[in-house]
Amino acid sequence: MIWLSWRLFRIEAAAAAAALAAFTVLLAVTGPHLASLYAASGITGCHVGSCGQLADNFLSLLGDSSIYPVVYTLGIVGIVLAPAVIGIFWGAPLLARELETGTFRLAWTQNITRARWLTVKLTLAGLAAMAATEGFSLMQAWWAAPISQAARIAPNAPAPLGFGPFNPLAFAAHGVTPLGYAAFAFILGVTVGGVLGRVIPAMAVTLVIFAAIQVAVPLWIRPNVFPPDHAMVAIGSINGSTRTNINNTFAFTVDFLPSQPGAWITSAEAVNAAGQPASSIPAACKASGPSVPHLGSCLSRQGVRIDVSYQPASRYWAFQWIETAIFIAFASALTWYCFWYLARRLS
Amino acid sequence: MIEFHLDGRSGVAPYMQLIHQVRQALRLGLLREGDQLPKVKDVAAGLAINPNTVLKAYRELEYEGLAAARPGIGTFVTSTLGDGSLAAHEPLRRDLQRWLAKARRAGLEDESIEALFVSTFRSASEEGTA
């Protein structure tokens, strides 16, 4: 059965190997120079006050070149898309093709139980999926280490090089989450394929469901894993922007907290001197006009401060493991369902 | 060694056809005492018929004393059908010629004669083997 699984999986495995190999070459060619640029930037061993500026300079330098942003983005996007590709091209056809072409009538009448048949197929492709995606991710993370370190402390870092660890794309591409996504996407594809029994519809449905989940989780689930920490900061001390609306309300967006490098800013609320939420421009400041810096200092004089909700960088790995565990749990549930479905419903 | 053939549309059961062909071969001298009949497997594969059919025919031949099975080796002819040559039946042939002349004089055409002969022959055979 191992021989048969491998023989039927050969092409998919070869495609993945080719993609990984190509990417490895790309990283190997650009990596050493990146490392030397980082060494020359002076960020290692910088003095506390100047680190931010040095990091900014380093990232601007990289950003101006044409290679590094492209390779970095390619890597991130590739890793984020990999689970979906795996779910569609490895997962969906696994059961669906057998059902559609009728070969299950050949496979399941040999001297092998359906449970063993499915176990071997799932193990082979599932482990390959997880290994490939995580390998991809680790390689990219290793290559981009200089960039990540700079991005944590650079206040004005431009995207994409300036992605902090909690940036949705970066979070999905680094750490252990790729493992969870790959496992889940794969078994999702297998399950959808088994239920629908046709390859192309299964591919489409898998894509839609997985995409929806990958949008919903960072939006609605990830922020609620831990209650955020709060910090009350003065308007002038943060990097961010103020926005005014037509009905005389204003709002703040905070991009970076100097006291919390690498943190995930989840929200920023304006609070008046009494500690209550403030959103309408006080009368005293209306005269300042639409010009933003003046509005900021005016509000400041009125005692308005910003209540920043954030997840500190120290929680990064907690978030990573919890989210991965959630996806692995769902993958396990789907796996159990697949076996049940194979034994019961497909009879 | 003789080779069998089957007429799917003759209305005669396959095993009977095999028996007839063996007897015919014996009569014509194509099969002699001691000759081996084709193996059951080869007949079944060659004609695409059930081996049980062949076995039934060979058993019938054994019952009639024309053949004998040697386990593990095959089935062999054990006796001939009297004198194998048609010439020995000259009296029967003359009887038949006289009957044919009678039928012609009665006004029967060739087809009617043939029909009369075949139907009588068939019902006689059925009575004989029922």
Partner: protein, 293 residues
């Protein structure tokens, strides 16, 4: 003699449709069984139940005295249209069989594949329907089964391929202690090859028995016009047709027909099957089909 395939009250329901209903049979070992019926009669359903690809809704099915899934090592199965992995070569299909089965006769497999006259590295997707059927048969045979189940194996084959397939099958039956159940909607093929018959029509089994037995117990009665209900009770009327003067009845009985007003003739297997296939649905003792001419 042990039954090689046994069913008791077997039924399979899809939604509200019964693909197979209340099927009870006991097929003795050592025969080539023809499973005949029109398309949609339930032949594929019965075979799929026998090999564990389907689970019964009602009743029991036993193969070689056990549940199908426990007997997969001793059953060979060839599904309709002989499914193969298009991307695998012929040789790789044989390897599939060798890997997935504990009993595998590599010599038999090679001999049979040799007759296909095809390159062993040929992808199975490029084979003709006849070659696929013979590859499928090879795979089913090389595991040395005690029972072979074939679902319409010759339906889509040209006459030459059909003959070749049946020749191979008969050779296998002659060589080994093998029971075969093969389904078809063409009766002519089965006549030479089958010695046991099961007729399935509209999800129900109409008749089952040794061909020899069936041919001896069925008679075509021709005589003056007569109401079938007036016949003796143990003469079961299968089909009847009447003109104003004459009745022709197909009758099943174990006892000799002694009524002198009847001319009794034999029934051919094909006519017998057709008569059962044109019966109206439902159980009955004296069912007949009136055809006014």
């Amino acid at each position: 003699m042990t039954a090689v395939l046994e069913a008791r009250g077997l039924g399979k329901q899809y939604g509200r449709l019964w693909a197979l209903a209340d099927c009870t049979l006991s097929v003795p070992a050592g025969h080539v069984v023809g499973l005949v019926g029109p398309n949609g009669a339930g032949k594929t359903t019965l075979l799929n139940l026998a090999v564990g690809l389907l689970a019964p809704t009602t009743g029991i099915i036993e193969v070689l005295s056990g549940p199908p899934l426990a007997r997969l090592a001793r059953i060979g199965f060839l599904a309709q249209d002989a499914p193969v992995y298009a991307g695998l070569s012929v040789a790789e299909h044989l390897a599939l069989g060798a890997h997935l089965n504990s009993r595998w006769d590599a010599g038999l497999a090679r001999r049979w594949i040799g007759r296909l006259n095809v390159n062993l590295d040929q992808k199975a997707g490029k084979l003709s329907a006849g070659q696929r059927a013979q590859l499928g048969l090879t795979l089913a045979m090389a595991k040395r089964p005690e029972l072979l189940l074939l679902d319409e194996p010759v339906a889509s084959l040209d006459p030459l391929a059909r003959r070749a397939f049946l020749q191979d099958l008969m050779e296998a039956v002659a060589e080994q202690e093998l029971s075969v159940v093969l389904s078809s909607h063409l009766v002519a093929d089965l006549e030479r090859v089958c010695d046991y018959l099961i007729v399935l029509v509209a999800s129900q089994m109409r008749i089952a028995g040794l061909v020899e037995d069936l041919l001896v117990t069925h008679h075509l009665l021709t005589g003056p016009r007569r109401d079938p209900a007036t016949l003796p009770a143990e003469q079961q009327v299968i089909s009847a047709s009447h003109t104003d003067r004459q009745s022709t009845l197909l009758v099943r009985t174990r006892r000799p027909v002694l009524d002198p007003s009847w001319v009794i003739s034999r029934v051919g297997l094909e006519d017998l099957v057709l008569a059962y296939m044109s019966q109206a649905a439902g159980p009955a003792r004296h069912r007949h089909l009136e055809v006014q001419k």
